[in-house]
């Protein structure tokens, strides 16, 4: 797909994707040291989150799922405070009470991260309702996985959004590895009888699009048009962004299945070894983007290394910040059960 993004935009997307990748890689290591409980990584889906935010304005609202780190980082949330939250520390965005499953940053426009399948989608219809009432042209984006389409509440929420023309972008990130996962004994994430996921929103008269979620340019084109439609009051849009599930997300617990990313593997496949090297060559959105942009001359290899190094330093600092943060004071446990 032709890239309609300008140089600044492409570089911003590159930085976001690198930031997300390095953050998630760091978490696997962090978990070895801290054993912070169950968590989910966004590796393999970076192109979607990093690009969707490009079409949004600061006053738009967002909701997401447990696979949320990428969405938050793409929207500019501080990685140090995210690490603190994931470690349950006092400097975390939720003062350590939410952890990875409930990490939310109100300043960045996030209403909620839901730990329940489809949990955020009902809330998104409500946010859309409030935004429509306010009439200031803001929209709401809700990210959710393909499995959410199995939950009745998602159907009920989409029905209302369609009926009342609510300004909601239903951003379905389909990372279901389907047949591949089943053969390898992984977890089936989706059991839907529809031939196309989009048949379901279409049955509710919702404008529905399908896009390669690992293709930055394609995501940008589809989402920009969708957002512009929604903003002009034409009701919700459903976008299914599909991606090939990162092998490290196939087991129940994330695994560093493809090794620490080497940006140079975009042009030097000899750097790649291991059973999942095909995934990197064919499906890794970061490597694909780098490969395309090098060909387009967006940046040089040296510039790329430089950006990656800076981001790695940022992540190291973020980790240090999170680890240095204190655990919450037990006395604070009772604070905030009810609003004042």
């Amino acid at each position: 797909m032709t890239n309609s993004l300008n140089i600044e935009q492409n570089l911003a997307i590159l930085d976001r994707m690198l930031l997300i990748r390095r953050f998630e890689e760091m978490l696997i290591d962090l978990d070895q040291d801290h054993d912070f409980g169950h968590y989910h990584l966004y590796i393999g889906e970076e192109a979607t989150g990093a690009t969707v935010v490009e079409s949004l304005i600061p006053t738009d609202l967002l909701l997401t799922t447990w696979r949320n780190h990428g969405h938050l980082l793409a929207r500019g949330t501080n990685p140090g405070r995210m690490v603190a939250e994931i470690l349950g520390r006092v400097d975390g965005y939720n003062k350590g009470r939410g952890g990875t499953l409930h990490l939310t940053d109100r300043e960045a426009g996030f209403l909620s991260t839901s730990g329940l399948v489809g949990g955020a989608v009902g809330l998104a219809a409500g946010a859309g309702f409030a935004l429509k009432q306010a009439g200031e042209g803001n929209i709401c984006v809700v990210f959710f996985g393909d499995g959410s389409l199995e939950e009745g509440v998602v159907f009920e929420a989409m029905n209302l959004a369609s009926l009342w023309s609510l300004p909601v972008l239903f951003m379905c990130e389909n990372n279901n590895s389907g047949a591949i996962s089943a053969q390898e004994g992984g977890f089936p994430s989706s059991e839907i009888a529809a031939s196309q996921i989009s048949d379901i929103p279409k049955s509710l008269n919702i404008n529905s699009k399908l896009v390669d979620g690992a293709d930055v340019a394609a995501v940008h084109t589809v989402v920009t048009e969708a957002v512009s439609n929604i903003r002009s009051g034409n009701g919700p849009v459903f976008v299914e962004a599909y991606s090939e599930r990162w092998p490290g997300s196939r087991p129940l617990w994330p695994e560093q299945a493809t090794g620490v990313t080497q940006v140079a593997s975009a042009w030097d496949e000899s750097l790649l070894t291991g059973e999942h090297k095909e995934w990197i060559i064919e499906f890794d959105p970061l490597i694909r983007f780098i490969r395309n942009q090098l060909a387009e001359g967006l940046f040089s290899k040296d510039e790329l290394f430089d950006r990656d190094r800076k981001i790695q330093t940022q992540i190291t600092e973020a980790r240090a910040f999170g680890e240095a943060s204190a655990l919450p004071d037990p006395q604070s446990a009772l604070d905030g059960v009810f609003a004042a």
Binding site: F155, L163, K202, S203, N205
Partner: protein
């Protein structure tokens, strides 16, 4: 079916519809007389759907019904005296008078119950179909539900599973145009509504629910398909309820003209005309049948009214199964 319609079949369909109409008229009187203590929802106007559907079934096939369920119980073969008894809270009723109109279960006729929850019938019928499939019995299950259920998440979840597992279930939506006092078209996105089933690759179509033969044909095909192991169907029947949501609803939200248009399509009158035209019965035969049914129904109501109320020792029975 019209072409092949024979006399016994046509008489059975006609009589069942007339019985339901007469039954509901008695229920209305009971309610007005203060005998039916709770809420009652009448099926008058929708008889063709219940009768046409149940006529395709065997006795051990399942139905799961809804709050407007008297017609389904009668069409599936429940005893009208015991139905009256339940509705007016008498001990010989199907639930010892403890359930009322919205909680009538009849295991003898495969009736998984009328239901007080919008959408309640949908997973129950789907589950009965799953059980029938697992046990290899060849039974099918019908889920009757109203248009309001088109907006319930559990319908969508159940359609998905029924399709995934090719379950022998037929989803029968009775679209009478109103969910309580609200026009269904005002609160429902997506047209036509059959797309809700079609989205899961389930054969889905819309039919005239005021013509018992149309209903019979459509459901027959779906039941046959289900029995052959080919999976669920999603059928929407356009119909009309003559009375309010429940007895006592003055229906101020309905247009008089609309009512006249639907009444002109009355399923019983339609069937009567056809039978006369096809020489399956004379006007006089039909009149006689009407009178007989009326007196049977009135007599049953009379018997029910004399039945005892449940005793205090019935209160705590059946909380747990033995």
């Amino acid at each position: 079916m019209t072409a092949k319609l024979n006399r016994p079949q046509s008489i059975k369909l006609y009589k069942d519809m007339v019985t339901i109409r007469a039954f509901e008229e008695e229920v209305r009187k009971m309610f007005s007389a203060g005998l039916a203590p709770g809420l009652v929802h009448l099926y008058s106007g929708q008889e063709a759907v219940g009768v046409g559907t149940c006529a395709t079934l065997d006795k051990d096939d399942y139905i799961a019904s809804h709050h407007r369920g008297h017609g389904h119980c009668i069409a599936k073969g429940s005893d009208i005296t015991r139905l009256f008894a339940e509705i007016i809270g008498r001990r010989p009723g199907y639930s010892l008078g403890r359930g009322g109109s919205m909680h009538i279960h009849d295991p003898e006729t495969g009736n998984l119950g009328t239901n007080g929850i919008v959408g309640g019938s949908v997973p129950l019928a789907t589950g009965a179909a799953l059980s029938a499939k697992l046990r290899g019995t060849g039974q099918v299950a019908i889920s009757f539900f109203g248009d309001g259920v088109l907006n319930q998440g559990i319908l969508f979840e159940s359609l998905n599973m029924a399709a995934l597992w090719s379950l022998p279930v037929v989803f029968v939506c009775e679209n009478n145009g109103y969910g309580e006092f609200t026009e269904i078209d005002d609160v429902t996105a997506g047209r036509p509504y059959t797309k809700r089933g079609a989205a899961f690759d389930i054969p889905a179509d819309k039919y005239d629910g005021m013509d018992v033969l149309v209903v019979y044909d459509a459901v027959s095909k779906a039941v046959e398909r289900a029995r052959k192991g080919k999976g669920p169907s999603f059928l929407i029947f356009d119909t009309y309820r003559y009375s309010g949501h429940s007895v006592g609803d003055k229906q101020e939200y309905k247009d008089e003209k609309e009512r006249q248009l639907w009444e002109a399509r009355d399923p019983i009158q339609k069937m009567a005309k056809l039978m006369v035209k096809m020489k399956l019965a004379t006007k006089n035969d039909l009149k006689k049948m009407d009178e007989e049914i009326n007196s049977t129904v009135v007599a049953a109501a009379k018997v029910a009214k004399k039945m005892p109320v449940p005793g205090a020792d019935d209160l705590a029975r059946h909380v747990y199964a033995p």
